[in-house]
Symmetry: C2
Subunit: 338 residues, 2 copies
DNA sequence: CTGTTAGCGCGTTCAA
DNA sequence: TTGAACGCGCTAACAG
């Protein structure tokens, strides 16, 4: 690999001049600049990012640290991040903590060690993890979940209201024993969506029944098991609100395996888009989030923060959409909305 | 951030001694080593990976460069890579070329600039792309698709035979106008699976009809459009073999939208696991690949190549599984296999 | 406007 | 066994 000195020699100038030209400093004679540029292309010169970063103590790498790489919600979001990043000449790398605090810690160490220029993260809220990044001055934007301990830019949706709407819809449809399968305690999305579920029940004059609530990990397997438990106990639910796409799929799979009909035996309402939603019968009622926009917005915030690290942290709440389809309709014709 | 000099001062030794201790060189007095280690933990010293990499001209970052981050085949595979990488103390970052040669070029430039320690790639086979990595001496393993131009370690499956089996099954079921929806020309998986389809037809004494073959991009939208075209032309297929999961989903969505029954009107056989496969009715017949194993194997090969760059490139062919389900069964009861 | 000099933080010679 | 000196490739002071 050619270094900046090779280019300098080739163009008959000093290394600093090469550096200036290649970094677009306007204080170089036009003719010299041309010589430098042609020397650079001739030698196929590519600046050593390591050396540059060491000098500037900053890279042009952004990390997107997600809790589950197999969740299409997160991968869809990456697209939005990439589009913004590319325009600002950053590269985006995806890191998968796999819901494991240890892996998250490893990646945070790597992000720190590699001095990455910014991080977009769906926090697992392990004590100290994000603090480490913040105190190192790494620009951070939290997505999906709220970060605890630290105040950072956040892009999220109104989980509580969306969950309330979905649950209210089930109640209005005439379901009387509406269960909720939600994620781990302490994860803000799991808590907020559960809170919305409870609020809807209270608003309808019902008392939330703790026996109808299950906490589990945000995985298909978790949804499957939780649904099974709910069906095996009293009161047996006649509808279920699942607070994430994987939970929805798992719950549905459980219902199918037990030969229960949806929505005749059990109604179901899901959160997030489900892969192949159009192919699943009956069509699933879901709350959807603007995944691409979440990614874009987070990336925009990251850019602004890189420019001005002192700006006060902001919280952006993006709108959700309620899609009522057949899976949540009691004894009515199938309609479609949203 | 504390530097190696801070630690040295704190421990009353020189920076070189600190370096030696922290890199496990055995030539340091035990007592001194202890002092160094406690000084390091006390200052929460974390080596600057940039400086270290600049010096060693190598990072501890692996890149997995895939053509579609939304394809679960690729994200599932990453898990296998991660497990191997973690044990060898590498971090894995995922880069999404999004089937765009320009983006792939950008990421390759970044990989080169950041001097990443290794790359696992599903090549788009753009002229020069991989060559650039190879000539820079970056260890590479190709997955899914074969790399052209360059000879590199490759992990793949026997696409031709698997496709032949699937197509033969459709023919044996009595389908007479079996179509094939495959990926872009020049992509080895698309070509090989198409070749297997043709081989099965010939083996059954049929002449492959070019009007029943469609090339498109490996996207759901592509599968949808291709299926639509096939249905709008003569001869109208009574079965379709789709050579990738997204194509399968797209084709199926098209059939559903047109009110066609599967498999009564049109039979379907897919390649790769389809998300939510268990929830789709009728259950889909598919060829599945050992995604996790592909990731593990590729990572193992990468490790070996890092250790011994001179080792001759190898090709690992992993087994596929044929899962015959209802979508490909003509006038028979629904059974399940595999 | 240009070149010389210095140093980012580390690992690795070379002497001692 | 240890420390001093050097350089990885680059950018940012400082002079000229």
């Amino acid at each position: 690999m050619a270094t900046i000195y090779d280019v300098a020699r080739h163009a008959g100038v000093s290394a600093s001049t090469v550096s200036r030209v290649l970094n677009g400093k306007q204080t170089v004679d036009a003719q010299l600049a041309d010589r430098v540029r042609s020397a650079a292309t001739e030698l196929d010169y590519r600046p050593n990012a390591l050396a540059r970063s060491l000098r500037r103590s900053q890279t042009h790498l952004w990390a997107v640290l997600v809790s589950d790489i197999n969740n299409p919600f997160f991968t869809a979001l990456v697209r939005g991040v990439e589009d913004v990043a590319q325009q600002a000449r950053y590269s985006v790398v995806l890191c998968n903590s796999d819901e494991s605090p240890a892996k998250e810690a490893d990646y945070i160490a790597a992000i720190l060690a590699e001095q990455m220029a910014g991080v977009i993260v769906s926090p697992t809220n392990q004590p100290g993890h994000l603090t480490r990044l913040v105190s190192a001055g790494v620009p951070i934007v939290a997505i999906d979940r709220r970060a605890e301990e630290v105040e950072v830019d956040t892009v999220t949706v109104d989980n509580t209201s969306a969950a309330e709407l979905a649950t209210a819809h089930l109640l209005e449809e005439g379901f009387t024993r509406v269960a909720c399968i939600t994620g781990p305690r302490g994860v803000s999305t799991a808590e907020e969506r559960l809170a919305g579920y409870r609020r809807a029940l209270r608003a309808a004059g019902r008392k939330p029944d703790p026996r109808l609530v299950r906490h589990t990990d945000f995985r298909e397997q978790g949804g499957y098991a939780a649904m099974g438990e709910l069906l095996d106990h009293t009161p047996r639910p006649d509808a279920v609100f699942a607070t994430n796409n994987l939970l929805t799929v798992g719950a549905l799979a459980c219902l199918v395996d037990r030969g229960l009909r949806v929505p005749a035996d059990v109604g179901i309402f899901g959160f997030d888009d489900v892969p192949c939603a159009t192919l699943i019968r009956p069509p699933l009622s879901t709350i959807t989030q603007p995944t691409y926009e979440i990614g874009r917005t987070a990336a925009d915030l990251l850019l602004r923060r890189v420019e001005d690290p002192s700006r006060p942290p902001s919280v952006t709440v993006l709108p959700t959409e309620l899609h009522v389809r057949a899976s949540s309709l009691r004894s009515r014709t199938v309609t479609s909305a949203g």
